[in-house]
Symmetry: C2
Subunit: 275 residues, 2 copies
């Protein structure tokens, strides 16, 4: 008698939270306190994957001096401090201003209790970000975490369909996307345009996409507050509470790319035609 088929991984369910924080422009210590309160609250609630906004340590509309004053390195002690707050299966994804001693980057750190697993520098910069930051030159990462393979994008990166697709092709099961989405007009009844793109990208590659936006009017600028937990089926999950917390379970099915008896969104691709 044959051994049972052990090739098919089991479905895995992850408790995901986004927390739409309101960082204070240029006030690093205040923002660290806001972030640490969010981490502790999530740990208390048994959240496994906590996604926080882009540039959570600094705010967004910064002068060059403010950005530099908030900047920390990828191996800053702060990340180890945050790592020590985490339970063994928890992962947090948080945006910060990174410096390599010379330039600044709009970066995201992925942390577990073991410390930082990865830092990604945003590769597609929006508008006046180019006045503050250098664009990253490394591809967006797919990080091995206790929760599975986690892809990372930052805000405008997601608007390039190649980016989530590429992460999925490299094995990402969940893609975390810290964002700061400026509020733009949209027709009544429609989701924010960036959420439409997240939903489409999730369904196209059968991958979960977790977007954490920010809140709080900053120097007169409003935010879409479009935080969304999108499952591998392309549909949104959960309902954001009055504190800007959106939480839901996300199940990553082992056969999720098989969308019909004879169709698989990944193996049906015909890359020879995508020149």
């Amino acid at each position: 008698m044959d051994a049972p088929n052990t090739h098919v991984a089991a479905d895995r369910t992850t408790r995901v939270r986004c927390h739409e924080l309101a960082p204070i422009a240029g006030d690093f210590l205040a923002n660290v306190a806001i972030i640490e309160a969010a981490i502790l609250d999530a740990q208390h609630s048994g959240v496994q994957l906590l996604v926080l906004p882009e540039l959570a340590t600094s705010g967004y509309y910064l002068t060059a001096d403010e950005a530099r004053a908030c900047a920390i390195s990828a191996d800053a002690a702060l990340f180890n401090r945050w790592a020590r707050m985490l339970s063994p299966d928890a992962v947090i994804v948080v945006g910060f201003v990174e410096t390599d001693g010379t330039a600044l980057y709009n970066s995201v750190a992925v942390l577990t209790e073991a410390g930082p697993l990865a830092v990604y520098r945003k590769t597609h910069l929006w508008d006046s970000e180019v006045d503050l930051f250098l664009a990253g030159t490394d591809p967006a990462p797919v990080v091995d975490t206790p929760l599975g393979k986690l892809g990372i994008l930052i805000c405008y990166d997601l608007e390039f369909p190649e980016m989530p697709r590429n992460l999925a092709l490299r094995g990402a099961e969940i893609i975390a996307v810290p964002t700061n989405w400026p509020l733009v007009p949209r027709p009544n009844g429609e989701h924010p345009p960036e959420v439409v793109q997240a939903m489409a990208a999730a369904r196209a590659s059968s991958v979960a996409i977790i977007c954490c936006d920010r809140s709080g009017v900053e120097r007169g600028n409003e935010w879409t507050q479009g935080t969304a937990i999108v499952g591998p089926d392309g549909w949104r999950r959960g309902l954001k509470d009055e504190n800007g917390v959106l939480e839901s379970s996300v199940t990553i099915g082992a056969r999720r790319t098989q969308i019909g008896p004879r169709n698989n969104v990944m193996t049906d691709r015909r890359p020879e035609l995508y020149f």
Copy 2:
């Protein structure tokens, strides 16, 4: 004094119609009559771009014998007959069963008064289509038409983000997508999932995407009837009438890919990172 800048093409507005026909499975002559009525009505109304459903000459859930009985070649006299119905600036896009004398293909023809401009064989086949059709081996075309550069996809092709992106990179300004979308469940208040993908693809590349679905329960199968005219901004236009006609103007702005003072969705791409 400098001459005025003549490098920037003018914005162009096109009157677009989708007609959600209800083809009769296997009844070629009846379907030709349905299509010709739709062409004449559109011409009468001054429509410039008429998009009709996938497999409009044959219906969808066919036996092999029925598909073969409905099949015509890419140079069939029927296309010239339809071409003669058109005014000088009109373009129609219509799905049909194509035969090359041996195999069958799920194809779409692009016609003007000058005759057929292009025939495209669907490259991503859905479910039991593989029992009837060979998949095309040529890339989806970008066709020079009196209305501008027109890209063509067929139904499931659109679910691969590479396909509309690739057409846009090759200059497509409008993408016509004849479809037969089987009805699938979706959360209350959401658009059909294929429409979400059309909206995201349109916005990502600042290209208009025109999806014409079909109607009419066929052998017990229902259709999403998700016909949508999506502008280069990613938002839907027009309201379908009780006859299944959706009509709207679509404006293709010369600077449409410039989505902010310092951002362009096409030139901001970083293809070296999309490996």
